[in-house]
């Protein structure tokens, strides 16, 4: 392709002039196929987003697809060629999630504030519709006006008389209508819709209300099945001009307040509210509520102890086993190594559930078989439950440490040890002065990530103890083995044991995120110092 004797400038300009078409290599085809797939996926998402009218997703997808094409089909952005896939996934799975959690943390999203204001108004109106007492079920058809407009209306059969009307036009008698049995088949001046036509306009039909007469108390006809009509009365109505809802039975006027609810002067509110921004309120609630501030510190302390203990126990057991299995004097190392990985191969929550059964005080395997029937209350005693959590975590966690320790040990060159032996170092000295420092440099980042993972080890606690045994001296539903993340889960009602509060849950999650991020950052700083 290049002539060795050509001067460098000429070579560079020549390469720049070469288009992809002239330098086709097999890799180019692979790239082409991959990019075609990515573009196809992008186009699919764009079309789907278009039909669902999800403009944000559409815009983001367009942006990324165009970006990917630019990055991979031009020559200029070499670093991005390597970074882009990672960056995209980072943005979608990390930045977006954290950002969205941050957004929710400043709202009152939760029970009673589940959607936007329009939905809340609709729900309040819908929930306060009443059938007019003593009103009959009327056979009904959906009709469409042929003149002057094409308004949708209802024709109902009441006392052998057909009446027809629209939203603005109360029911009037239609004496020339044709009725077969109890079915209205023809109404002069109106086009009778078949049931399937009505189904096709489902939303319009179910929302339509046709006043029975000029008297508002007589109610208006509505239908849910397009066959039978009932007279309903809207007890609560919305006035968009004053942004109030009025209960016509009690005369009470409810005003939209800044808490996302319709509130009357006496303080009572309508059932359904909507999401609003509440500022930092979720954060202040989290720390000012008397019921939580005491146990919070206990939980935090145990959380830190648990995270550190789980890293240390799993690491040293894994390391110990790795060193043992690394010894060439041992037979059948491959079989043992495979067996060691088994706990890692089971899903964590299943393991936790299994252990929950095995640690049962009166019937569990541990007490019955291993301890000869001693009734040890593994899961009922605060300290034993903590021990049980750490032990089960050790069972689940050591294979990971075993794996990385095995890998790192094999990477330490053997001549270092030979040199040490010649210098007369004992086995312990070799471990202490050579193995451990070399190992730690390699695995410290993994230990830190293990710490961060265990700090939020939700599965284990939730499945094994559910956070229990419950503290007896607090009024909050928090127990001796609760981690911050399981505490958040129950305190904010995400498990259904209290009214749901996604805002509070998000705020507390961010607090946990800050703690973990701080600890990790400090640890990384320290480990870098250690390397120097």
């Amino acid at each position: 392709m290049t002539q060795p004797e050509a001067p460098p400038e000429e070579r560079r300009s020549k390469r720049a002039r070469e288009s992809h078409a002239t330098s086709i290599r097999p890799g180019f085809f692979i790239k082409l196929i991959l990019m075609a797939l990515i573009n196809a996926l992008g186009v699919y998402i764009i079309l789907a987003a278009w039909s669902q009218q999800s403009w944000i997703i559409l815009a983001v997808t367009v942006f990324f697809v165009v970006l990917a094409d630019i990055v991979y089909f031009t020559k200029r952005m070499l670093p991005l060629k390597y970074l882009l896939p990672g960056l995209v996934f980072l943005l979608i799975y990390q930045v977006f999630t954290v950002g969205y959690t941050g957004y929710v943390a400043f709202t009152n999203y939760g029970a009673g504030h589940n959607s936007d204001k329009a939905d809340a108004i609709a729900a309040n109106v819908m929930q306060n519709q009443r059938r007019v007492e003593g009103s009959p079920a009327l056979p009904l058809v959906v009709v469409e006006q042929t003149f002057p407009g094409t308004d949708l209306g209802f024709a109902v059969l009441e006392d052998d008389m057909v009446k027809v009307g629209t939203e603005d036009q109360p029911l009037e008698e239609a004496p020339d209508a044709v009725v077969e049995g109890t079915t209205i088949v023809e109404v002069p001046g109106w086009n009778v819709l078949s049931w399937s036509d009505a189904v096709a306009r489902s939303q319009e039909v179910t929302q339509l209300r046709v006043p029975v007469s000029d008297d508002p108390n007589a109610g208006s006809i509505g239908t849910q099945d397009a066959r039978t009509g009932y007279a309903y009365r809207s007890v609560v109505t919305y006035d968009p001009e004053t942004d109030t809802m009025t209960n016509s039975d009690t005369g009470m006027v409810y005003r939209a307040n800044d808490r996302g609810q319709f509130q009357a002067d006496d303080g009572s509110t309508l059932t359904v509210g909507w999401r609003v921004f509440v500022g930092a309120e979720n954060f202040t609630t989290a720390f000012s509520d008397q019921r939580y501030s005491g146990p919070f510190l206990k939980v935090l302390a145990w959380n830190v102890v648990f995270a550190i203990a789980s890293v240390l126990t799993t690491f040293f057991l894994g390391l110990f086993l790795a060193i043992v299995m690394n010894s060439e004097r041992m037979r059948g190392r491959k079989i043992y190594r495979t067996l060691m990985l088994l706990p890692y191969a089971f899903p964590a929550f299943l393991t936790a559930l299994l252990f929950q059964g095995m640690l049962n005080r009166d019937f569990g395997f541990v007490n019955q078989v291993l301890l000869g029937g001693m009734p040890i209350a593994w899961l009922n005693d605060p300290w034993l439950a903590k021990l049980a959590i750490i032990m089960v975590n050790l069972w689940m966690g050591f294979p990971y440490m075993f794996l990385i320790a095995t890998g790192t040990l094999q990477a330490i060159p053997g001549d270092v040890y030979e040199a040490a032996k010649i210098d007369g170092a004992s086995g312990w000295q070799q471990f202490r002065r050579i193995t451990l420092p070399l190992l730690l440099i390699a695995v410290t980042p993994l230990l830190i990530s293990s710490f961060a993972f265990n700090f939020n080890n939700f599965n284990l606690v939730y499945m094994l103890t559910g956070g229990g045994p419950r503290f007896t001296d607090t009024s909050a539903p928090i127990g001796a083995t609760d981690l911050l993340i399981t505490m958040v889960y129950s305190v904010s009602g995400l498990d259904g044991s209290a009214s749901r509060n996604y805002g509070l849950a998000s705020a507390l999650s961010i607090v946990i995120f800050l703690i973990v991020a701080t600890v990790s950052a400090i640890s990384f700083r320290l480990s870098q110092k250690m390397e120097d």
């Binding site: 997703i57 959607s115 819908m126 039909v205 359904v272 929550f349 559910g466 045994p469 849950a505």
Partner: protein
């Protein structure tokens, strides 16, 4: 049933935790909302229904009949029952939720509070359902779901070990159980976190319901489980707990109780219709639960049914499907065959009453109290079970612990 923790739970956990992240529409199914494609019959309309595994087959049967009659398509989405409530709450507001979902009546308070369900007008068909089933789905004068089954606890008796009908009081039953000479005179699931749903019949027998009832039978948010009656029940728990005769034991979980009964280690067990399938081949009877405190030991009744989303764009089809297909005898009997719960349709309930076990549960249901569906109930569950477990374990002084529980619940309700 509430306590039947399965592998599904962790999925619940993950889904619920991410529910707040699940906002805007995900990649879409373009067939979802085509108002423009309205064909002149039901064709082109799709009804999306969330249903759990047990109810899948009978719902499919109803869906097939419906598809044939109307030409509309019914898309059944199988979900874990435990996931449905949170997912429904999160997805309905985005417009991505289903038209219909299967559910339990005690969700009603939360679903209406968040405005995600719409009322169903039964018209004259209302009389076809049993009163208790319809009342359970009623909130503030409107019915919000189409019930298909009623479930409640009863005392399941192993006829080989205890041929006589169960005595009327708890102490007599324990005596009869001891006479049978089995390992346990009686089993009831408690587990380390307590099981108030299973224990509530005995609490009711002390005259301590959870909430005060209004005149129309609905619950007010005023707690009634405290006071002398509640403390008497707490004392009863302690008397039969670890420091008492040990009949109640927190080590006995659902699985252990079930196995003990299955292996003939006890003549009596408190359990629901979902257990009957497990005891296939045994000679069983279902009796009323014996009273511990003098008054009738009535269990909670749970009603299961289908809810319609407040944002369904196919309201007419949804109503049609539920009232005229799910609410028919054939489908309700099929539902019974799939899950052994008493049908909510009177006609279907009559048909299955030839089965003595089904009749046993249905007779108990006649006097049972609906499980409260008001939103305040969530706070009760949080403290109720663990307090019972603490008292049974002898870790807490009964009356004091019960009083603290009541004040904690009051604090949580706010």
């Amino acid at each position: 049933m509430r306590r039947r923790i399965g592998a599904a739970l962790i999925a619940t956990a993950v889904v619920t935790l991410t529910a707040c992240g699940g906002g805007g529409g995900t990649s879409g199914d373009p067939a979802g909302d085509d108002e423009t494609q309205a064909a002149p019959d039901g064709t082109g309309q799709t009804l999306t229904v969330w249903v759990d595994e047990t109810r899948m087959a009978p719902t499919q049967a109803a869906a097939d009949a419906f598809e044939e009659a109307t030409g509309a398509k019914v898309e059944l989405v199988q979900k874990n029952f435990e996931d449905i409530r949170a997912d429904f709450l999160a997805q309905v507001p985005t417009g991505e939720g289903p038209d219909i979902t299967v559910g339990a009546h005690d969700w009603l308070g939360e679903l209406t509070q968040n405005g995600v369900v719409s009322p169903v007008e039964f018209g004259d068909k209302a009389g076809d359902f049993t009163d208790v089933a319809l009342e359970a789905f009623t909130f503030d004068g409107q019915v919000y779901g189409v019930p298909y089954a009623v479930e409640n606890l009863g005392l399941i008796r192993n006829v080989e070990l205890a041929p006589d009908p169960t005595p009327e009081t708890f102490d007599e039953m324990i005596a009869a159980g001891q006479e049978a000479g089995t390992k346990y005179p009686f089993v009831i699931q408690v587990s380390t976190e307590g099981d108030p749903y299973t224990m509530v019949p005995f609490q009711h027998s002390f005259g301590a319901p959870v909430f005060e009832q209004n005149e129309d039978g609905s619950y007010s948010s005023e707690l009634a489980l405290g006071g002398e009656q509640g403390e008497a029940f707490a004392q009863w728990l302690a008397d039969h707990g670890a420091n008492g005769d040990g009949v109640l034991n927190t080590s006995i979980t659902y699985d252990i109780a079930r196995e003990a009964f299955k292996n003939g280690e006890t003549p009596y067990m408190v359990g629901g219709p979902w257990l009957i399938e497990e005891f296939d081949g045994m000679d069983l009877a279902v009796d009323p639960i014996p009273s511990a405190g003098g008054e009738p030991a009535v269990p909670f009744i749970g009603v299961q049914g289908f809810y319609v989303s407040a944002k369904s764009e196919n309201g007419i089809l949804a109503t049609e499907f539920l009232v005229n297909y799910i609410g028919t005898k054939d489908i309700q009997v099929k539902m019974y065959e799939a899950g052994d719960r008493t049908p909510a349709l009177t006609e279907a309930a009559d048909e299955i009453s030839s089965d003595p076990l089904a009749k046993g549960f249905a007779d108990i249901a006649a006097d049972a109290m609906p499980m409260p569906s008001i939103p305040e109930m969530a706070a009760v569950w949080t403290f109720w079970g663990v307090t019972e477990a603490q008292i049974i374990n002898g870790d807490a002084e009964p009356a004091a612990a019960w009083q603290k529980m009541v004040s904690d619940i009051e604090g949580a309700i706010g």
